[in-house]
């Protein structure tokens, strides 16, 4: 019996228009923890989805336990002994622990119809004893903490006699104490010969728990390193290390003087004690990994989520309880999902541009149509929106032009503070440049901009100053001249 439980070679996978994986390899030994790391979009999830049968590979081979496999669904992978614990736990909250673990395999009578609940709970109890886990099979999942729920998922995976266990960001929602418990379980699993693929952004955790580290970048395999002899810094530079030099903005920090927005101790469900300020004419970049809490900061400032803490605009304390308040104070928010939150796709360019400013065009009863048309045309011209006319339905425009419509909407509303959440998401390369130019033009005209972006190159290209977040907290602030991909990434993965 070879020590290798899994060998994936030359895995290729394309989605329409995107090459997600190109010649990726990965090997895994029995009883080891292999950390799989990479930036957002590096291809980790796609690779794991192929291994667990959620996606099918285009090319390449998967040798598992000496045999070539190609699972076509999760159940097939599970029966082979390959299990994944997703970051969003896949449990039925209204069912009990035992019901969840044995769903689809519950003990039944001869008719295969009536349930034997006593046996079900007994089996669960036996499983927990074997695993040395302290859980009551009869408790409903919704009554458990996230850490306990995760243990249910682990127990479920092991009840399939898992030989490979994939954990996707398992510690994201855990407290330090709970993390220790999890690591105890992982160490026990290792002794039992279970191989673990551990996906995490927390570098210091990888140091503690993993045996080897495999790095991926842009859908490609980069390297595999033994954890013991590897420095975190090394791993980070492998993660981000694009050869291409990137354009970095030359920004003069003294140019900006007036604070237009001050945020102090912003705290809610998702974010903890976030404080920062924004100056007039400045582009303030928010960097961090997906889920770092950047969007949540934007939503709080915009009044979309409740929060505690205070916000000052132009030196004056303001109360923002709902988006209406924020708009009144001149804040415009451009959602990362403009199709859902930014636009009425079935309505025209004109209607979308003026939607937030309608009262301005209305007499007591009627909407003044001619003014609307003139203004809509002016703004769509100023932002170079490519549309046959302002009567075109927004649905028919390209992503870049749709984004411009959202910008036009807030400009017409006279917003001085604009929050862009992933402004170039889903926009092709050529149009991205146009959006960049537009953002710079707006800043030069004295608009103050907060830009949230998960693309480091974009952050460095546009920001005058950069705030880095992780796990709902601000982990650092950098002037553009001091920032580079490495130190941003280090702050973005810093766990405190």
């Amino acid at each position: 019996m070879s020590n290798k439980i899994l060998e994936m070679q030359n895995i290729n996978k394309s989605f329409p228009g995107v090459k997600a994986l190109s010649n990726v390899q990965l090997d895994l030994h029995r009883g080891e923890v292999l950390a799989l790391i990479g930036e957002n979009g590096a291809g980790k999830s796609t690779l794991m989805k192929i291994l667990t049968g959620i996606y099918q590979k285009d090319e390449g081979s998967i040798i598992y336990d000496g045999k070539e496999i190609a699972p076509t669904n999760t159940k097939e992978a599970q029966e082979l002994g390959i299990n994944i614990i997703h970051q969003e736990l896949n449990l039925m909250p209204d069912l009990t622990v035992a019901e969840n673990i044995f769903i689809g395999r519950e003990p039944r009578d001869k008719l295969n119809f009536f349930l034997k609940n006593k046996e079900l709970n007994q089996q669960a109890d036996e499983l927990f004893q074997k695993l040395n886990i302290n859980l009551n099979p009869r408790t409903k999942i919704s009554e458990l903490t996230v850490a306990k729920q995760q243990m249910v998922e682990i127990a479920k995976a092991l009840s399939f006699n898992a030989k490979i266990l994939i954990m996707d960001e398992p510690t994201a929602a855990l407290t330090d104490k709970e993390i220790n418990t999890l690591f105890d379980i992982i160490n026990w699993l290792k002794k039992e010969g279970v191989a673990i693929i551990y996906i995490s952004h927390r570098m210091e955790e990888l140091k503690r728990i993993s045996d080897r580290i495999t790095v991926m970048r842009d859908g490609e395999y980069v390297a595999t390193l033994p954890t013991e002899t590897t420095e975190i810094r090394q791993v980070v530079s492998l993660m981000v290390g694009r050869e291409v030099t990137i354009e970095q903005k030359v920004s003069d920090p003294d140019k900006f003087t007036d604070k237009v927005l001050e945020v102090n101790h912003l705290t809610n469900h998702y974010i903890k004690d976030v404080s920062f300020h924004l100056k007039k004419g400045e582009i303030l970049g928010f960097a961090g990994l997906v889920g770092a809490g950047r969007t949540e900061v934007a939503r709080a400032i915009f009044g979309a989520d409740p929060f505690s803490g205070d916000i000052k605009i132009n030196g004056k304390a303001v109360t923002i309880k709902q988006p209406v308040d924020a708009v009144q104070h001149g804040i415009g928010y451009l959602s990362e999902d403009r199709k859902r939150f930014g636009l009425m796709l079935e309505m025209t360019v004109k209607e979308n541009i003026v939607i937030s400013s309608l009262p301005h065009y209305s007499t007591a009863t009627f909407v003044k149509a001619t003014n609307i048309k003139t203004d809509a045309e002016e703004y769509s011209h100023r932002l170079k929106v490519k549309t046959p006319s302002v009567h075109q339905r927004v649905k028919l425009l390209s992503g870049g032009n749709q984004q411009k419509i959202v910008i036009a909407k807030w400009l017409l509303k006279d917003c001085d503070i604009l929050i862009f959440d992933e402004p170039t998401r889903g926009i092709d390369v050529g149009a991205k440049q146009e959006i960049y130019d537009l953002l710079e033009m707006l800043a030069n005209q004295g608009k103050s901009i907060i830009m949230i972006s998960s693309e480091l190159t974009e952050v460095l290209r546009l920001s005058d100053r950069i705030i880095v977040m992780n796990e709902g907290r601000v982990t650092g602030e950098l002037l553009n001249q001091d920032a580079n991909q490495e130190n941003i990434m280090e702050l973005a993965t810093q766990h405190n």
């Binding site: 669904n73 999760t74 159940k75 599970q78 970051q87 896949n90 449990l91 039925m92 909250p93 209204d94 069912l95 019901e99 769903i103 689809g104 519950e106 039944r108 295969n112 119809f113 009536f114 349930l115 609940n117 409903k140 919704s142 009554e143 458990l144 903490t145 996230v146 960001e169 994201a172 929602a173 469900h269 998702y270 997906v290 889920g291 809490g293 969007t295 949540e296 796990e471 709902g472």
Partner: protein
């Protein structure tokens, strides 16, 4: 999207006192008791046996419809076709027994099978054709309404010549005191309760409603089970249809529209969550009883029918509001 979650330990402790689903049931049961006490003080006629019998009898049809649709609602779906579906099963029972002259028991089975078929088609539309339950069953509601009128020629089918048909609902095999319809209602509660809590059908009903995607990823054929669940609800519709026909001693093709909403109201009052995953048939039974106690009590107090409807409307509003509060908690 965030990776952070709430501090679970606090809510943990609160929930241990009493699970929120049970709380709603206790509330519903308490409301029923309070209503009964209130009406018995307000009117001395209320607690007369004949009145109680009347209340129970008027609960049966809506009650049985509500039991069936509880299954569907727990999966996170809805079934609007049960009202006119019930009518169609009444009409088909009439067709089998009166038009075709088949024996009574064959007619009854035929009626129930008709109900099952209606449920099956709804289930097929929802799970295979992926039509949202609201639309699929709205369409089924109209189809059943139309078919009832077409098949019956838009006039009632009378069972007057069928001996003993009226006794199915109004006779009394049990102690000679309780009408059969009431007995059947309680038997249906029992059957439903066993199905929901003791069989795999029930387990998957809750599982699908609790997290459909996770259920699917657990290797459960959710399409198949949804069809089964809608078909079971259809069987309940069939039973309700037969009882309706027997009570009226006729199949009334123009009746039935609106029954579905009363049934859904009973389900909601009984603590079943419209967002799925939570619910119980005992709750639904209590919900149905609350509705008929209210109607009956208000009538005894000589409150005009128009106002009875208004009151019931407010009760539904209140019940759904509690459901929302519960969701916010979890």
């Amino acid at each position: 999207m965030s990776t952070l979650t709430s501090n679970p330990s606090a809510s943990d402790q609160r929930k241990k006192l009493v699970s929120s689903g049970a709380l709603q049931q206790i509330l519903a049961f308490a409301s029923l008791i309070i209503l009964v006490i209130f009406f018995s003080i307000a009117s001395e006629n209320f607690l007369q046996w004949s009145n109680i019998e009347g209340i129970l009898l008027s609960t049966t049809v809506i009650g049985i419809l509500a039991l069936g649709t509880t299954f569907v609602i727990i999966t996170g779906g809805i079934d609007l076709s049960i009202g006119t579906g019930m009518t169609l099963t009444s009409v088909m029972t009439g067709v089998f027994i009166v038009f075709l002259g088949l024996p009574v028991h064959v007619g009854i089975i035929g009626g129930i099978v008709t109900g099952a078929l209606i449920g099956f088609i709804s289930g097929f539309s929802v799970s295979i054709l992926r039509i949202p339950p609201f639309i699929a069953t709205l369409a089924m509601m109209m189809i059943a309404e139309g078919l009832s009128l077409v098949i019956s020629g838009a006039s009632p089918i009378y069972f007057s010549d069928v001996e003993g048909f009226n006794n199915i609902a109004l006779g009394s095999v049990f102690l000679g005191a309780i009408p059969n319809a009431v007995l059947i209602f309680f038997i249906m509660v029992l059957i439903g309760w066993i199905l929901l809590s003791k069989t795999i059908v029930g387990r998957y009903t809750f599982s699908i409603g609790s997290n459909e995607e996770a259920t699917r990823l657990s290797g459960i054929n959710i399409k198949k089970w949804k069809m089964i669940i809608y078909t079971i609800a259809g069987c309940f519709t069939g039973v309700a249809g037969v009882i309706m026909a027997s009570r009226l001693n006729s199949a009334q093709p123009a009746l039935g529209m609106g029954y579905e909403l009363e049934a859904i109201a009973a389900v909601v009052i009984g603590g079943t969550s419209l967002s799925g995953g939570k619910g119980s048939l005992i709750g639904t039974m209590i919900g149905a009883l609350i509705m008929s106690v209210l109607t009956n009590g208000l009538r005894i107090m000589s409150i005009p029918q128009e106002w009875q409807t208004v009151v019931i409307g407010f009760v539904i509003l209140l019940a759904v509001y509690f459901d929302m509060l519960r969701k916010k908690d979890s």
